[in-house]
Amino acid sequence: MNFSRPLRFIAFIAGAITIASALNVAVTKKSYSENYPAVVCPPTLSGLSSQISLSSKKTPFQRLQNRSTKTEPVKVLRLPVMKDALLFDAQGSTPVVWQSRTGSWAGGALCSGPASSQWFVGASADITTKGRLMVVNSGLSDAVVDLNVFTENGKQPPRTLNVPSKNYLVIPVDSLAPGDKTLTVNVVPRSGRINSFMIDEQGKGLRALGGDLVNPTSSPSRTVVIPAIPNQGKKPGQGAAPAHVLRVLTPGEVDASVTVELLSSDGVFIPVGLNSRSISAGQVSEFTFAPKISSSAFAVKITSTEPVVAAVESSVAIGGGKDFTWSTAAPELSEFTMAVTGLTPLIVFAGSEINVAVEVTLVNGKLIRKAIKGTDVATWRVPAAARSFTITKVGKQTYAGALVSSVNGYGYFPIAPGSVLTRVEIPDSNIRILNP
C-alpha cells in the first residue's frame, strides 16, 4: 500500500494544530479597575473633640455635609475636627480618629470604607448610658439601613432608618432597647454608602464613668481573637484587681458552646469558668474574669461551636479618674499602612507564631524598620514621632490591636485596614445577559 497520501493528510492535521495553537490566544483576558474606596471618619458630637491622624498632608478630603463633591488636600498630618463627618481619599493608608471628652474619656476608631454589615458589641441601654450610634451616609443617594439589636433579653424588633445623602443620623443608644443592660447592634445597609460608629459613654448622675468608641467587627465567626486588652493590675490600696467583662453573642438560631483562652506573656490559659460555657442563641451574655497576670496587656481567643461576636470591656484608671475600653475582635493581620500621627499606641500582637515586619515613617520622612517576633503575645510601642507604620510582612494567624493612653482616657482600636484594595472587573457589553 502507498502510505504517502494518508501520511500527507495526517501531516495536514498536524499542520492545522500548529496553526491553531499559534492563533489560539487567550480570549478571556479580564481587565480590572483597582482602587481604595474613600474612607469615612465619624462626626464630632457636641462636647467632644476629635483629631484624625493622617499619613500625608496631600490626602484629599471633603466635608460630608457640604453638597459639593470637590475635594481638597488636608495640609496637616493631624486634623482637628469640629463637627462634620469627613471623607478621605487616603489610598490605602488607614486614618485613625481619636475622640475625647475632656477629663472624662478618650477612644480611638478607624476611619473606614463603606461596610455591608457592622457588629457593635458594646454599650448598654440602661439609665447610666449616654451612648450614641452614628450612621453616616457618604453616598450621593439616600440610604436605607436596618438595625438589628440584641440584648440579654434576646433580639429586639428590627428598626429601619432612612439616611439622607451626604449626611448622618445620631441615635441615642438607650432608644434601641430601653432598660436593657447589654447591647449588641448590627447595622446592615439595605442601600447606600454607609458607615456606622458607636460611642459608649456612661455616667451616674453628674459623675462620669468614662467612655469609649466601640469598634465594629464585620461578621460573626467561630474563632474570635481580641488581641489587645489593657490590664492595669492591682494598685496599692486597691482591694482587687479591676475585672474584665467578656460580652459575647451568637446571633444564629442555635446555642453555642464557647471556650475562652487568655494569651499573655505569662502564658496561655483558660480563665476559670470560661471553658465550654454555653450561651443562648440571640441573647447577649457577659462573663466577668480577673486574670492574675503581670503583663499590662493580654489577648483573648474565643473558640465557639457557632459563629459569635465578642468584645471585652476593661476598666482602667487614668490620671485620677476612671475610664473603660471596649476591646473588640480584630481580623487576621495583613499588609497595610496605618496613620498614627500624634498617637503612640502600644501594639499588641497575638498569635501562636508572631513574625511581623513593620516599617515606620516618621514625621520628618525617615523610615525605621522593625521586626516583631514572639509566641502568643508580643508588644511594640510605636515611636512618638511616627506618622504612619506599614506592616510589610506578617505570618499566618496573627492578630493585632492598639492601646492608646492619653490625658483624657484610654482607648483601643484594632490593627486592620480601613479600606481594602477593591479590584473591580471592567464589565463587557453582552446581550446574553438579557437571556435567562
Partner: protein, 1015 residues
C-alpha cells in the same frame, strides 16, 4: 341515403366542420356512414384546409361549403344551416367535428334518449379518447366560477360505465351534439364571438335560460381527438389573438361567464377570474411556461378592455331569456369540489414523485403457482415480535427514548444557551425580518438573516406557534438526524446491522449532543440535512455532469443552510478553492479548457448562488467577516482546537473532553484503507483541518463585545458524517475479510475500533440522559427583566448582571428595551456605544459621577442590577448620585435616572429638556415650541421628522444621536424610512423566484405531449 323520418319521426342533418383534419377525417366519415340509424342529410363546411381534407370530403361524396380560413366553428355551422331547406318539425342538426368519430349506434342512442323528452333541445354523447378508447373525456360539461371547463371527471378517468345514464347537464360538447334546428335558429346559433372553445357551454346555458333542457345520453359514444385543444393543429380562426388556443379558451371562458351570469354576480366573477388568471400565470411561470402565463393574463385583459362586447352579448341574452340565469346554478360545480380536485391532483403528483410505481417489480402469475409447494409451505403467521428484532426498529426506538429522556427539561417554551425566547407568533418574526430598524440596544439597521423568515414560514405548520416549532424541532432532531443519516448510509452498505448503528452514532455524536443542549439551531439543522446534501453531491467530482436544474435545486437547499449559518458558505468556499486548484493542476496535463471552464462555472454557481439568495444579510458579512462564523442567536464560545480535533465543539454543555469519541480514530484508520472509505476519510480530514483552524479563532459579534472562541459545530458535522460513512464502508468490506482470514492486525484494530465505539456510545448516552439533561436550553425559565419594567413602553434600561461560574464571575451589561431578548434580536444587535460603555464602567468601579447624565443623554431611564450581584457595587451606585432607587427585590435593584430620559427629547430655546411621547419606531407627537428634537437612537440617514409636510433639518450631535431642528410648534411625525430594506428584500425575492423556477421541473406545452399520454 334513405330518409328515416318516417320510422322515428326525426329528421337529422349532420353538419361536419373540417379544418386541416385529414388525419382523422377518413375515420369520421366512415363512422358517419356506418350509423345504425342512418343520417338523413350530411353536409360539410371546410374552413380553408391546407391538407387533403377537401379531397377526402369529395371522395366521400359529402357536399361541402368552402369557407374562409378565419371562419369560426359557429359561423361555419350557421353557414351550413342557412343553406339547408326550411326547418320542419323534429328536425335535428348533428354537429360533427372533423376529429370526432361517433360509434355506429351513437345517433340511434341520441334519438332514443330524446324520444320521450320533448323539452330536450340539445343532447350529446359520452366522449371517449381517440387513442385510448377507455379514457372518459366528457359526459356533459359545465363551467366553474373561475372559468375552468368542468367535466366532473378525474384526469385520465377510466370508463367503466360509472357515469352512464341519461342526465340533465348544463351543456354538452359540440362534438357529436344533436341540437333541435328550430331552437338553434331561435337562439341565433352558436355565439359568433366564440370562434372556438366554450361555444358549447354558452349555447347550453342560453338554451336553459330560454326554458329548454340539455342532456347527455351516455348510451351514445363518440371518440374525440380534441385536436385544437391539444394543439394538434393550428388555430387560425378570426379573433383568436396570436392564434393561441389557451388564450382563446380563457378569453372565451370569461366571456361566457360575464355574458350569461346575473348582473349582481359580475363584480365577484371579475375578481375570481382575475385572481385565478394570476394564480394560474404564476403556476405556469414556475413550470417555466411563460407563453401560457402570458395567455392567462392577456385573455382576461383583452376582454376587460372591451366591455362593449360583454354589454352587447348580455343584451342579446336578455332578449332570449325566459327564466333566470340562475337556473343553471345546480350545474355549476361547488367551489370546494374544485379545491378538492386541485389538492388531490397535487397529492397524486407528490406521491408519484416520492413513490414512483416500480414497473420492474416482478409480479407472480397465478400460472406460476406450484400447488404442491403451497401445501408444504407453512402458513405465514405474521410474527409481529420479529419486527422488534429489526435493527431499524431497535435503533429508532432507542434514539427516541434517549431523546425523550434528554429532553425532559425541555418540554415548553425553550430558552437558554444560544437560544433566546421565541416570540409567541410568527408575525413577530416576520416583523423582525421586514423591519428596517431594530429596537435592540441603541438600535440597529443590520439586515435580519434569512433564517428568521424561514423559521416564520416553518411555524405555519404549527399554526404560527414558533415556540411549539422550536420545542418540537429540538425534541425530534436526533431522530430525524438518524433517519437522514441512515438514508445516506444505506447507499454505502446493504447491511442494516451496520448502517443503523452508524446512523445512531451520528445522532449521539458529540456535536449533535452539544448542539441540542446549547440551542445551536444551525448545527442541528445541518446535522439533519448534511446527509441529504451528501446524497445530492455524491458525484460532485463530476460536477460537469450536473444539469443546471440540479445546480439550482442544490442551491436552494444550500441557500436554506446559508440562511442559518454562513459558516457553511465558508466550508463550500474552502472546498471549492481546493477543487479548483486541483482542476488547475489537471488542466495543465489534459488541456481540456471547455471542460474545466464548465466545472468552474458550475462550482461557482453552487457556492455563490446561495450566497446571493441571502442578500442583504450575506453581503453585510463582507464588511463584518466575523458574521461568517456565527450561528443564529447568542454567541456561545466553543472549546478550542483540541476539542475540535476530537470531533467535539466544546464549550458549555458539550461532552467532557475525557469522553473521547472514535471520530478521529476512524478517520485515520480509514485513510489507510484501500476501499472507498479512504476517499470519504480524506474529505473528513479536510473538514477536520478546517474545524481545528476555525475553532482557534476568536470573534466578537451578535451583541457580544468580548471575544469568544468560534463554535465549530457546522464543520464538525461534516467531520462526523465523514467518519460515520467511512466507518460504515470500512466495516462493510472488512467483515468478509475478517471472517475468511486468520487473526492478524486487522482483527485487533477492528476490535479496538468497535470497543472504543461501544464504550463511547454507552458513556455518551449515559451523560446525555443524566447531566446532559440539565442543559443550557431549558423550558419555561424565569425572565431576566422583571414584569414591572416591561409595563412601561418606549423605555431603555441599562442592565448589569453577574454571569459565569462561582469561581469565574464576570460583570456584563446591555441596554434592554424593557423585556428579554427574543429570537432574531441577537443577530441584529449593534455593538455598544462608547459613551454608554464608559458610563457602565463608571458604575462598576465607582468612578461614574457622570454616568447618570450620560445615560440620560442616551434616553436610558432605568438602571437594573440583576440579583445576585456584588453588594459593594450596589452601594457604590447608591453613592454616585443621579440615580434614585425605585425598588429592591429578590430579582434585583432598580434605580431611576433622575434627569429626564426618553426616546424622544425636546430641548427648547431656553435649554430646558423635556420628554416627548414616542412609539416603538415611528411616532406622532406635539412639540410645544421651536427648539431641537433629540432622538435617542443611533444616528441613521433613514430617520426623518416631518412637520407640516416638510422634513426637518437632521444633524448628528456630539453623542452620535440624530437631532432635528424644529422651527415652530406643531404636530410632528417621526419615521424610519425603510425603502432601502424593502428594495433589498425585493431583490432577494427575485433571486429566490428565479432559482426556484430554475429548480422546478419544466412543464410541457400540450403540443409537446404525446398522443398516448393525452389518450
Amino acid at each position: 341515403m334513405a330518409s328515416q323520418a318516417a320510422v322515428d319521426k326525426h329528421r337529422v342533418t349532420a353538419v361536419l366542420v373540417s379544418h386541416n383534419g385529414a388525419v382523422w377525417l377518413p375515420e369520421v366519415v366512415a363512422a358517419l356512414t356506418s350509423q345504425t340509424r342512418p343520417i338523413d342529410v350530411i353536409t360539410a363546411v371546410d374552413t380553408g384546409s391546407q391538407d387533403s381534407s377537401t379531397k377526402l370530403l369529395k371522395s366521400a361524396r359529402i357536399p361541402f361549403i368552402s369557407a374562409d380560413v378565419e371562419t369560426g366553428f359557429g359561423a361555419a355551422l350557421s353557414l351550413a344551416v342557412n343553406k339547408l331547406p326550411k326547418s320542419i318539425d323534429h328536425e335535428w342538426i348533428w354537429l360533427i367535428h372533423d376529429d370526432c368519430a361517433p360509434a355506429p349506434t351513437a345517433l340511434a342512442e341520441l334519438l332514443a334518449a330524446i324520444d320521450d323528452r320533448p323539452q330536450v333541445v340539445m343532447v350529446g354523447p359520452k366522449l371517449l379518447g381517440w387513442h385510448d378508447r377507455t379514457h372518459l373525456l366528457e359526459a356533459g360539461v359545465s363551467i366553474a366560477g373561475n372559468g375552468a371547463r368542468w367535466t366532473g371527471l378525474e384526469p385520465l378517468e377510466y370508463d367503466q360505465g360509472q357515469h352512464d345514464g341519461n342526465h340533465d347537464v348544463l351543456a354538452v360538447s359540440t362534438a357529436g351534439a344533436l341540437i333541435r334546428r328550430d331552437v338553434f335558429e331561435e337562439l341565433g346559433g352558436l355565439d359568433p364571438n366564440l370562434t372556438l372553445f366554450r361555444d358549447d357551454v354558452d349555447f347550453g346555458w342560453r338554451a336553459r335560460a330560454a326554458g329548454h333542457s340539455v342532456m347527455v345520453a351516455t348510451g351514445a359514444v363518440a371518440f374525440h381527438a380534441q385536436a385544437s385543444a391539444n394543439e394538434r393543429r393550428t388555430v387560425e380562426v378570426d379573433g383568436a389573438f396570436l392564434h393561441r388556443p389557451l388564450l382563446l379558451d380563457r378569453r372565451n371562458a370569461a366571456y361566457v361567464l360575464l355574458s350569461n351570469s346575473s348582473w349582481w354576480m359580475l363584480p365577484w366573477l371579475v375578481v375570481q377570474i382575475l385572481g385565478t388568471a394570476i394564480a394560474r400565470a404564476v403556476g405556469y411561470l414556475l413550470a417555466k411556461l411563460p407563453g401560457y402565463a402570458g395567455d392567462e393574463i392577456l385573455a382576461v385583459g383583452s376582454l376587460l378592455v372591451r366591455p362593449g362586447l360583454i354589454i352587447a352579448a348580455r343584451k342579446v341574452r336578455k332578449k332570449q331569456r325566459f327564466v333566470s340565469a340562475r337556473v343553471i346554478a345546480e350545474f355549476i360545480p361547488p367551489r370546494w369540489s374544485q379545491v378538492r380536485l386541485a389538492s388531490e391532483g397535487f397529492v397524486d403528483a407528490v406521491r408519484a414523485k416520492l413513490f414512483p410505481e416500480n414497473s420492474q417489480v416482478p409480479t407472480s402469475s397465478v400460472l406460476d403457482a406450484n400447488e404442491d409447494e403451497d401445501l408444504l409451505t407453512p402458513v405465514n403467521n405474521n410474527n409481529w415480535f420479529g419486527v422488534f428484532k429489526r435493527p431499524e426498529v431497535i435503533g429508532f426506538v432507542l434514539i427516541s427514548l434517549v431523546s425523550l429522556l434528554n429532553s425532559r427539561n425541555r418540554f415548553g417554551a425553550l430558552v437558554g444557551g444560544a437560544l433566546p425566547i421565541s416570540p409567541a407568533g410568527a408575525t413577530d418574526l416576520w416583523s423582525t425580518y421586514f423591519e428596517s430598524w431594530h429596537q435592540v440596544g441603541m438600535g440597529s439597521t443590520i439586515a435580519t438573516p434569512t433564517w428568521v423568515a424561514i423559521t416564520a414560514t416553518a411555524s405555519l405548520l404549527f399554526l404560527g406557534k414558533v415556540q411549539f416549532l422550536i420545542t418540537t424541532f429540538f425534541l425530534v432532531a436526533p431522530i430525524v438526524m438518524m433517519f437522514t443519516a441512515s438514508k445516506l448510509l444505506k447507499r454505502l452498505t446493504s447491511n442494516s446491522w451496520i448502517s443503523i448503528p452508524a446512523a445512531f452514532l451520528y445522532a449521539v455524536s458529540p456535536v449533535a449532543i452539544a448542539a441540542v443542549s446549547t440551542g445551536h439551531i444551525a448545527t442541528v439543522l445541518f446535522m439533519i440535512l448534511a446527509p441529504l446534501v451528501a446524497l445530492l453531491l455524491s458525484d460532485v467530482e463530476k460536477i460537469e455532469s450536473f444539469s443546471w436544474r440540479k445546480i439550482a435545486g442544490v442551491s436552494l437547499l444550500l441557500a436554506l443552510l446559508y440562511g442559518f449559518s454562513l459558516m457553511i458558505f465558508v466550508i463550500g468556499l474552502a472546498a471549492g478553492l481546493i477543487s479548483t486548484l486541483s482542476d488547475y493542476e489537471k488542466h495543465a496535463q489534459e488541456a481540456n479548457a471547455p471542460l474545466y471552464s464548465l466545472r468552474l462555472q458550475k462550482r461557482a454557481a453552487l457556492i455563490f448562488v446561495p450566497f446571493v439568495m441571502n442578500v442583504p444579510y450575506s453581503l453585510e458579512t463582507i464588511m463584518h467577516p466575523s458574521r461568517l462564523l456565527v450561528e443564529p442567536g447568542l454567541l456561545i464560545s466553543g472549546g478550542g482546537p483540541i476539542h475540535a480535533l476530537l470531533g467535539n465543539p466544546g464549550g458549555a454543555n458539550s461532552l467532557p473532553i475525557w469522553l473521547v469519541s472514535p471520530i478521529l480514530l476512524v478517520l485515520i484508520v480509514s485513510l489507510f484503507s484501500s476501499t472507498h472509505a479512504r476517499r470519504i476519510a480524506e474529505y473528513g480530514v479536510g473538514a477536520l483541518v478546517l474545524a481545528v483552524v476555525i475553532s482557534s479563532l476568536s470573534i466578537s459579534t451578535h451583541g457580544n463585545e468580548a471575544s469568544s472562541k468560534v463554535w465549530p459545530g457546522p464543520v464538525l458535522v461534516l467531520v462526523t458524517l465523514a467518519s460515520v460513512a467511512a466507518g460504515t464502508v470500512l466495516l462493510d468490506r472488512l467483515r468478509e475479510t475478517l471472517v475468511l482470514s486468520h487473526i492478524h492486525y486487522r482483527h485487533i484494530l477492528s476490535a479496538l475500533l468497535l470497543f472504543t465505539t461501544f464504550t463511547y456510545s454507552v458513556l455518551a448516552i449515559g451523560w446525555s440522559v443524566t447531566k446532559g439533561a440539565d442543559s443550557l436550553v431549558q423550558a419555561n425559565r424565569e425572565t431576566v427583566m422583571p414584569a414591572f419594567l416591561s409595563v412601561e413602553k418606549d423605555v431603555k434600561i441599562l442592565v448589569l448582571r453577574e454571569v459565569g461560574s462561582e469561581n469565574d464571575k464576570k460583570i456584563q451589561y446591555y441596554l434592554s428595551r424593557g423585556k428579554d431578548i427574543s429570537l432574531g434580536e441577537p443577530d441584529v444587535a449593534p455593538p455598544q456605544t462608547v459613551a454608554i460603555a464608559d458610563a457602565a464602567r463608571g458604575l462598576i468601579d465607582g468612578s461614574g459621577v457622570t454616568s447618570s447624565s450620560t445615560l440620560s443623554d442616551f434616553g436610558v431611564k432605568y438602571l437594573y442590577v440583576k440579583a445576585p450581584f456584588k453588594r459593594e457595587i450596589i452601594r457604590s451606585i447608591d453613592g454616585l448620585g443621579g440615580f434614585s432607587r425605585t425598588s429592591a427585590t429578590s430579582l434585583g435593584v432598580v434605580w431611576k435616572v433622575t434627569a429626564p430620559a426618553s426616546r424622544l427629547m425636546f430641548v427648547g430655546v431656553d435649554g430646558v429638556r423635556k420628554e416627548l411621547e414616542a412609539g416603538e419606531v415611528g411616532a406622532r407627537t406635539f412639540v410645544p415650541s421651536a427648539g431641537t428634537l433629540i432622538l435617542t437612537e443611533t444616528y441613521n440617514r433613514s430617520w426623518q421628522v416631518l412637520e407640516n409636510g416638510y422634513r426637518l433639518d437632521r444633524k448628528m450631535n456630539e453623542q452620535g444621536l440624530p437631532t432635528f431642528t424644529v422651527t415652530e410648534a406643531g404636530e410632528i411625525s417621526l419615521i424610519h424610512d425603510g425603502t432601502v430594506r424593502r428594495g433589498w428584500l425585493s431583490l432577494q425575492l427575485i433571486f429566490f423566484v428565479i432559482v426556484l423556477v430554475m429548480a422546478l421541473p419544466a412543464g410541457r406545452r400540450k403540443s409537446e405531449i404525446s398522443e398516448k399520454e393525452l389518450a
